[in-house]
Symmetry: C2
Subunit: 272 residues, 2 copies
Amino acid sequence: MQSWVDGQPAHALASLKDRGLAYGDGLFETLAVKAGQPLLLDLHMQRLAQGCSRLAIVADNTVIRSEVLAYAQAMGEGVLKLIVTRGDSLRGYSASPEALPRRILQASPPAAYPEANAQEGIQLFDCATRLAEQPLLAGLKHLNRLEQVLARAEWQDPAYAEGLMRDTSGRVIEGVFSNLFLVRDGSLYTADLQRCGVAGVMRAALLVEAERQGIARHVTDISFEQLRQADELFLCNSVYGIWPVRAFAELSWPVGPLTRKLQGIARTLLDV
Amino acid sequence: MQSWVDGQPAHALASLKDRGLAYGDGLFETLAVKAGQPLLLDLHMQRLAQGCSRLAIVADNTVIRSEVLAYAQAMGEGVLKLIVTRGDSLRGYSASPEALPRRILQASPPAAYPEANAQEGIQLFDCATRLAEQPLLAGLKHLNRLEQVLARAEWQDPAYAEGLMRDTSGRVIEGVFSNLFLVRDGSLYTADLQRCGVAGVMRAALLVEAERQGIARHVTDISFEQLRQADELFLCNSVYGIWPVRAFAELSWPVGPLTRKLQGIARTLLDV
């Protein structure tokens, strides 16, 4: 399906003056679309609004929301990528106050991950690329993603479905394109993302759902030792739901009951 | 003048699938052009090659060099921006091995900075935005530049021509779009850029020229205390040459003799 730029079919081209290209000056969201519906739309729009606010990009969320709805309707099924940039500018980091934020909508086919990832769990690669600590950008799904590009380029072996990223201080943070949860003594742990990492929409949804279910949740710094001692480990994102982690380096975990329970919830969240 | 994409006039549009837009997955160079000549071309091409090597972008530097020469010839005078991205890819951080790096050439008018910046020196803004420490990307002029965007957005008052950036540990690193040098007891000091910062082409040229002139040079960590105790302070880049720093917060410096000497050298480097 053809992309849209600012609501118009775009012939797959964007402005060369766009600050998204020049500086990665923008944000994105990746939404699963089923039966013409963008899933978890409220949470995606919330995160986008928070990102725009922190980067001082004044985008019209009402217009974006209605465009996403219309585009998803036209797509039917697949993955919808929404990019919002600060728009065009002249040379130099200083943004023109008149710059109009640009919105770009792109369609991809449904994600084609092996069903075994969700059923049997996955093996996690040990990424050498560390996440730098930058509180001003932490949590945002912004367009400065060279760390993820470098991390993802570390392995080609399809035996690894994802890679584990630590920060430069060695804390356990997330996957390259997923958030990470640990289970220990029936409680749920996920990394605090005040210094780095992307605050995923599925992570947010699962934290809410866990609270509803009365499951203790801890958003906190996670050491490698805690990872080692976890009873269960899983990854999540808003496209594939939940993948149990079965193996990482010499460590292994069973696919545990809390992972299976939350996986059922994630499946419901990604259904229409 | 019209931009070129992969050697062709581009009607100001780039591919929406370009990883430069999606992830800031690429590098750039900003060259002064005079009398149809791109200045400091060898150093720009060297830095680009180092960046491509570290990001594993396999670009054809011979083609890029000849395009830059032809484009500069057509421009005559102004600022030439060269962007090299990893090219197009499908959704996801993983790059396609067949992806062809893309090169984009853009022309801007000559930089219009007040002559007083160079003559009388400038006042430096104290940026609250800190540079995160990421050794894998340090020194590169890559397209992940949100830190500079945030820092440059901190001030609108034209009394400040540039802003000082420290790293998250408080070390003095650089300007938002310049490198910084200190003079102390006749020696030259500039920040070591192993953890963060952009290794500017004018910085590299000045380090070479200083060696030729027998001026002691130290590429090292610089504390705020060292900045405070400097005899002279100046900023440089490959478009404007050298600006003496006269004032920062409550501190002030004279425009000193070594700054003036190097300013003369920088002027020669930016002449044809």
